[in-house]
């Protein structure tokens, strides 16, 4: 049984690429993603785990990366907003966000896209209530959510 350590070598698949790195045990996953990996699309908007701007996929599930330690991600698969249009081709959801003016400052958008992508992967044709329920953990201060909900539902119905 290994003794507790102050830092730890972790191996994480990030957007399809295996990353090995020694990280301090106290480093938050969101800071590992932003500062160590330079993937600055994932954002920090609060310090109590309420706002969801730091939402990524961990082993396929949307989670808030500000409430996990980087060492907890050892052995997992992580997907961040940068992976959505990895081949340069925007996903239907990203295009719908543009078409429906579903973003203004864009700071909550990465987290919003990761939550909505996870929803659509599980429920391709969500109702408005299901969309709002899925996005409840993602705060936006610019849009009042009107166009975001519209864009997600439009993507769902293939409009």
């Amino acid at each position: 049984m290994e003794a507790p350590t102050r830092s730890r070598a972790i191996s994480v698949e990030v957007n399809g690429e295996q990353i090995e790195m020694e990280v301090p045990a106290r480093r938050l996953l969101v800071h590992f993603i932003r500062d160590d990996l330079g993937l600055t699309g994932t954002h920090v908007g609060c310090d109590t785990g309420n706002c969801g701007a730091c939402t990524i996929h961990l082993d396929g599930e949307p989670v808030k990366s500000c409430m996990a330690l980087a060492v907890q991600a050892d052995g997992t698969k992580i997907r961040t907003v940068e992976a959505l249009a990895a081949d340069g081709e925007l996903t239907a959801l990203q295009q719908a966000f543009n078409a429906h003016h579903a973003l203004q400052c864009g700071y909550c958008t990465p987290g919003m896209l990761m939550s909505a992508t996870a929803l659509l992967e599980r429920n391709p044709r969500p109702t408005e209530d299901e969309v709002r329920y899925a996005l409840q953990g993602n705060i936006c201060r610019c849009t009042g959510y009107v166009n975001i909900v519209e864009a997600v539902m439009a993507t769902g119905s293939g409009a």
Binding site: E2, A25, L28, D47
Partner: protein
């Protein structure tokens, strides 16, 4: 947002976890981290050693004990509760309440064990499990013991789980015809509760537990007695709730005064009991 230095270990077995917890001063289990990591970010409190329970698959199972109790592993997440067929069959209120805890992201990580061991008065599960008559199995160097909800919930961030011990599972009696209810007032939809109440009506008896009004869940004993064997009509239930507020000494804060919480306790108890009574099967 930036934690103090901390040591971290990720044991492979429950025994290893228990031994790590026993041998390191200031060691704390790390389950979903949806409260503990926030408290560490605020540097409001700082464990010296984190024992990550992520690899203890044994604690992630949901099943039934030999005598038919629903057994929920301490590391079962809220999302697992929501999608579990065993829960849906045995005690669906658990999934119903879990589905209103925080948001999708938190429910994917937050665990039943974390919720009850943090024992924050505003957490959803302590009053619910108290009303359902759940029992809590704790493993330590001296072996395993099981305690009731009254014995488990001692105060804010304080439970029967001592230094060097680990909660392994929560056992919940199947409803077998009983009706369960949960009601209260939240800060925003599906937000943190200002006051909540859980109720279960089995045959002629009702168990009512109130949350957010003290350091641990409070049983509305007088109201339970008054309702035993009653018709559970709205008038009867409202009558039985009178005076409940005065028996409480709830905190006051920016979301409500003690007096507001006393009234909400009565309103929540009535609504939970009526919901539970309405869901009884064997009537």
């Amino acid at each position: 947002m930036l934690l103090r230095e901390v040591e971290y270990a990720r044991p492979a077995t429950v025994e290893d976890a228990v031994s790590l917890l026993a041998t390191h001063d200031g060691a704390r289990p790390l389950a979903g981290g949806q409260t503990l990591v926030n408290v560490m970010k605020a540097r409001a409190a700082a464990p010296d050693v984190l024992v990550d329970l992520a690899d203890l698959d044994e604690l992630r199972t949901i099943g039934f004990s030999s005598d038919g109790l629903l057994e929920i592993g301490a590391m079962v997440t809220y999302a697992q509760l929501m999608s579990s067929s065993e829960v849906d069959v045995a005690r669906p209120i658990l999934a119903e309440v879990a589905s209103t805890i925080a948001d999708v992201q938190v429910r994917n990580r937050g665990t039943v064990g974390g919720n009850v061991c943090v024992s924050d008065p505003t957490n959803h599960l302590p009053p619910l499990l108290a009303a359902l008559g759940a029992t809590f199995t704790i493993r330590g160097a001296a072996g395993e013991r099981t305690v009731s909800a009254d014995e488990f919930f001692l105060g804010v961030y304080m439970t029967a789980v001592g230094e060097g011990e680990l909660l392994t599972k929560v056992s919940v009696p199947p409803s077998s015809g009983a009706g369960d209810g949960f009601a209260g007032v939240t800060i925003g939809k599906h937000g943190t509760y200002i006051v909540d109440a859980a109720a279960t009506v089995a045959g002629d008896n009702v168990a009512i537990a109130l949350g957010c009004v003290a350091a641990a869940p409070v049983r509305a004993a007088a109201m339970e007695k008054r309702l035993a064997g009653s018709d559970f009509s709205e008038a009867t239930v409202r009558g039985a709730a009178e005076g409940l507020g005065e028996t409480l000494d709830p905190p006051s804060d920016v979301h409500g005064s003690a007096d507001y919480r006393r009234r909400l306790a009565e309103v929540s108890a009535v609504r939970a009991v009526l919901q539970a009574a309405g869901r009884r099967k064997e009537r």
